[in-house]
């Protein structure tokens, strides 16, 4: 008896945690299926749920415009639950069981790495919307977020030129994106003539919440008579306590500015930003950008989600660009067959939300403007600087030993993700 009731409780618990899969599998035949692979539960749900909503909105809008190739689009949503191996399973399920034509998804690099073999094996398409560390180019993946040269390097340039920063704290969460980005930045700074003793690199665990010691150490590091800045690749939840501690210990942006690569409008929504005014973020899009495309997008988003207080952010724009590119490539190819679409993608250009035209390059990265924004007291960013033109995403960093000779070009006849220009061969020193 006791056993049975216990079993009931457990099954109730498990039922609550497993999530609904897909929306209507057995609908009419004539639809084009689009997979959405974002965590709706677990630690990453905080960032990824919004992207799922944006994708649903884009699919709905496209259907209102008459769909694609005369067919309606159908979104298939799965929940990989912030569990990296589960990403690969769910991706396989999307492609093999649901038969999707393309997948929009992933946030963390480790989830992308986990699904990469699946997409290459089953020859499908993944659109990856988040800024990442580079050092990768796959035929089956289109990277619509920023590569390091579209975010980190311009941000450092800005601090050097505009703020006269000479001492650098590279503060990150301990995983692959911060470690690779910091490696690139360190090489870049040293090349720019910064003394290695003027660079302090430190990593903290995921979700680090006790920042007292680190903030005091940053204060110490900053009191050596040289203008100091913090370059933050701190991820997700650890940011709020970090900024709070900065504010409480009285570090103001005008003394030691912090430029962050993972803090956007969505992350700031959880804090009172008045002590943070003046700290910086580098992105390719800000909600505050004043263009007609952006105003239209925000209005559509608010109408779709039914809440005027919701913000928009950079990865949302990346999905907007990626989805429109895919639509255009499918129309160009006249089919949703992945091979044809992959070939049609390169060279496709669609309007981004900052008033320009983003194009898909042969290395499967896109062109974007780089914006530096200052945090305002309303949780928005005010753009203080932007690149004069669009920047082409550089997948293999020019500042790292192993990758500076590599390029990717997926057009025939090269069709290679890591062509070594020094040896003239595909599949150089680093590679998939």
């Amino acid at each position: 008896m006791r056993h049975r009731s216990w079993g009931r409780h457990l099954s109730a618990a498990l039922l609550g945690t497993s999530l609904l899969v897909g929306a209507g599998g057995a609908m009419a035949q004539e639809t084009i299926k689009v997979g959405i692979l974002h965590s709706l539960s677990g630690t990453m749900a905080i960032s990824e749920t919004t992207l799922k909503d944006v994708m649903l909105m884009l699919v709905e809008e496209q259907n209102k415009k008459g769909g694609l190739l005369g067919k309606q689009l159908e979104a298939v949503v799965v929940d990989p639950a912030s569990d990296w191996p589960l990403f690969a399973e769910r991706a396989r399920e999307l492609i093999e069981v649901s038969g999707v034509s393309a997948v929009f998804g992933c946030w963390t690099s480790v989830s992308r790495k986990s699904v990469l073999p699946v997409f290459e094996e089953l020859n499908n398409i993944l659109f990856y919307p988040v800024q990442y560390e580079g050092e990768e180019s796959s035929r089956n993946v289109f990277y619509t977020g920023a590569a390091p040269n579209q975010q980190a390097i311009p941000a450092v340039d800005y601090l050097m030129e505009e703020e006269g920063v000479e001492r650098w704290v590279l503060e990150g969460t301990d995983y692959v994106y911060p470690r690779t980005t910091n490696k690139i930045l360190e090489a870049y700074l040293i090349q720019k003539g910064v003394d290695p003793s003027d660079i302090d690199i430190n990593y903290t665990p995921f979700g680090h919440s006790d920042w007292q010691t680190r903030v005091a150490a940053i204060k110490d590091f900053g009191s050596q008579g040289k203008k100091t800045a913090v370059v933050s690749t701190i991820n997700g939840d650890a940011n709020v306590p970090f900024y709070r501690e900065l504010g409480n210990q009285g570090i103001e942006a005008q003394d030691i500015p912090v430029v962050a690569f993972s803090v956007g409008e969505e992350e700031l929504a959880g804090i009172d930003t008045s002590p943070l005014v003046g700290h910086l973020a580098a992105w390719n899009y800000f909600m505050s950008v004043d263009t007609d495309e952006n105003a239209e997008f925000i209005d559509a988003w608010h109408a779709y989600i039914g809440d005027d207080a919701r913000v928009s952010n950079d990865p949302m724009e990346a999905h907007y660009i990626g989805f429109n590119m895919w639509v255009e490539a499918v129309e160009k190819a006249g089919t949703t067959d992945p091979d044809a679409v992959i070939d049609a993608m390169v060279g496709v250009a669609v309007p981004n939300l900052t008033g320009g035209l983003s194009a898909m390059m042969p290395n499967h990265h896109i062109t974007k403007p780089v914006l530096i924004g200052e945090i305002q007291d309303d949780g928005q960013f005010d753009v203080v600087w932007e690149t004069s033109g669009l920047v082409v995403g550089d997948e293999w960093s020019d500042y790292l030993e192993g990758s500076k000779d590599l390029i990717a070009d997926w057009r025939e006849p090269m069709a290679c993700g890591n062509y070594n220009t020094a040896t003239g061969s595909c599949g150089g020193t680093v590679g998939q």
Binding site: A45, I46, T213, S223, D237, V240, Q254
Partner: protein
């Protein structure tokens, strides 16, 4: 002699003022603030500062606060007060309120950090003679940082007038900093270095290190000596700093663990849903603040006092429900308890995620919990100080309940010998439910406090569950004093390790330390008999 000089200075000022009054086209100066790029704006700020006219301070302050606007219709630069997308425009010179317009009809004058620095230096130089000692002190502080030799004249004048000792010291320091930028003789500069060395904080250190790098000869030596003295002083404070950080981390651990010390420690239930009780407490705080924000904003500063009893009740009742619904059936089967409560924690997380959304929720700090207190070179942030006080208060209250109330007596009786307690007429089932409810309620209290330093998101509890178990096991299952000692020890050890080993390695080292310790003393610091031991 000095008096004469001052008189002369004042005379000069008096003579200069009317001359200023003739030329100033203040309107043009203000208009220039909104023109061109950041470099042009910086020059315009300096031009305004050069007038020294205190009536222009408000314009600069507005600019720094982002409250300076250009009216699109006529290009006039005006001060604006924003209220829900409506901006009330005020003439910066006459202080007249002009009109209220929509935010689309004006354009905000953009500032960046470089301009903010220029602004605070300019405002500092212009407010050195303010009648308010706090403003003067702040002004001296800004001038110290900008070390602008142009401010020397005003500094001397301010010093001559100053009656407040604290402000005078600040002014002396600012004067010393500015003097170092001039080509004064070595003796004067040495005296200045002494004044700055006596200040002894990081700003002073920064200044001397910069001087050490840029000067040579005897001056460099003096700067090096001064910098070394400050560094020695800061080093001495470092240990105190580590201990305070450690105690603060310990108090957070104590709060997170103390509810678990009841449910796991006293009752022996491996409660994986403990973190979610903390999370629910934090969400209760959010709901309370949200209600206050929309119904009665002035109450905001006391929002935590309302949240504390509510959080205790909400999580306490949920705890009782969990005990009656699930855990009651699983006593004596730790593995099943672990799995069931773990599943429950996932259910609770997802429920909160569906109800409140996956994103962080904003829980504000009441004003009395913001900022920091400086003691010597020690910075203690107010929120952490209050959390320490709160955690000790919760600890004391729990001790009182356990040792001084009949409920506590019954609880201890049931824990130590269930059959005997039952035979004495204690309704053991009821006591189980109440005890679990108490532990959960205390976890809810922890949530109120943690909402002040951490994210309020569905994942809040996960970050604390491992640490909580660590503290309880290390301190000794079933003993509250053990939990207190355990939390403080782990906090302090962690904070001493962190600067040397880094946060990641420090955590690992602490874990290794606990594993070794448990090998040696399997029942923790303070071992006690309880149901867990019997089972």
């Amino acid at each position: 002699m000095i008096r004469f000089l001052i008189l002369l200075l004042l005379g000069l000022l008096a003579w200069a003022s009317p001359a200023r009054a003739q030329e100033p086209d203040h309107r043009a100066l203000v208009a220039a603030l909104a023109e061109g790029g950041f470099s042009e704006k910086e020059a315009a700020i300096q031009a305004v500062a050069a007038t020294g006219d205190p009536s222009l301070v408000a314009v600069l302050e507005a600019m720094g606060d982002g409250a300076l606007y250009t009216r699109k219709s006529d290009g006039l630069v005006l001060i604006g007060e924003e209220d829900r997308r409506q901006i009330t425009l005020i003439d910066p010179l006459t202080r007249e309120t002009l009109e209220t317009v929509g935010s689309r009809e004006v354009e905000r004058v953009r500032v960046n950090n470089r301009l903010r620095r220029a602004l605070s230096a300019a405002i500092g130089a212009m407010t050195l003679l303010s009648p308010d000692p706090n403003v003067r002190s702040e002004a001296a502080q800004s001038v110290f940082r900008s070390a602008d030799p142009e401010a020397l004249e005003t500094l001397d004048e301010a010093l001559a007038r100053e009656s407040d000792d604290n402000v005078r010291a600040r002014l002396e320091q600012a004067r010393a900093a500015a003097l170092l930028e001039t080509d004064a003789d070595l003796e004067t500069k040495r005296a200045a270095i002494d004044v700055i060395t006596a200040r002894g904080d990081r700003d002073a250190l920064s200044l001397l290190v910069a001087l050490r790098a840029s000067s040579e000869g005897e001056l460099q030596e003096a700067a090096a000596t001064g910098a070394a003295a400050i560094e020695r002083r800061l080093k001495r404070w470092e240990i105190a700093q580590h201990i305070t950080y450690g105690i603060s981390l310990g108090s957070v651990l104590l709060l997170a663990a103390i509810g678990l010390a009841i449910t796991f420690g006293v009752m022996g239930v491996i409660n994986m849903a403990h973190g979610e009780m903390v999370m629910l407490g934090a969400y209760t705080t959010f709901v309370v603040q949200e209600a206050i924000r929309s119904y009665y904003p002035p109450l905001f500063d006391s929002s935590l006092f309302i949240a504390i009893p509510l959080a205790f009740l909400v999580t306490g009742i949920i705890g009782i429900a969990i005990e009656r619904g699930i855990i009651r059936w699983l006593y004596g089967r730790p593995l099943e308890t672990l799995l069931a409560t773990w599943g429950l924690s996932l259910v609770l997380q997802q429920a909160v995620r569906s109800l409140f959304g996956p994103t962080n929720r904003e829980v504000g700090n009441p004003s009395w919990m913001s900022g920091a207190i400086e003691i010597g070179a020690l910075t203690i942030t107010a929120n952490r100080l209050w959390i320490l006080v709160f955690s000790l208060a919760v600890f004391a209250a729990l001790m009182l309940i356990l040792k001084r109330t009949s409920f506590g007596l019954e609880m201890r009786a049931v824990t130590q010998n269930r059959q005997m307690a039952g035979a004495m007429g204690i309704r053991t089932g009821r006591i189980d439910a109440m005890t679990f409810g108490l532990g959960s309620g205390v976890a809810g209290l922890a949530g109120v406090a943690l909402s002040q330093i951490d994210n309020v998101s569905p994942n809040l509890g996960q970050g604390y569950i491992i640490d909580s178990f660590m503290v309880v096991v290390f301190g000794g299952v079933g003993n509250l004093w053990g939990t207190l000692t355990g939390a403080m020890t782990l906090g302090i050890v962690n904070k001493f390790l962190e600067p040397y080993a880094g946060a990641v390695l420090a955590k690992i080292l602490v874990l290794v330390f606990i594993i070794l310790f448990i090998q040696k003393r399997p029942r923790g610091l303070f071992a006690q008999r309880g149901r867990a031991v019997e089972a």
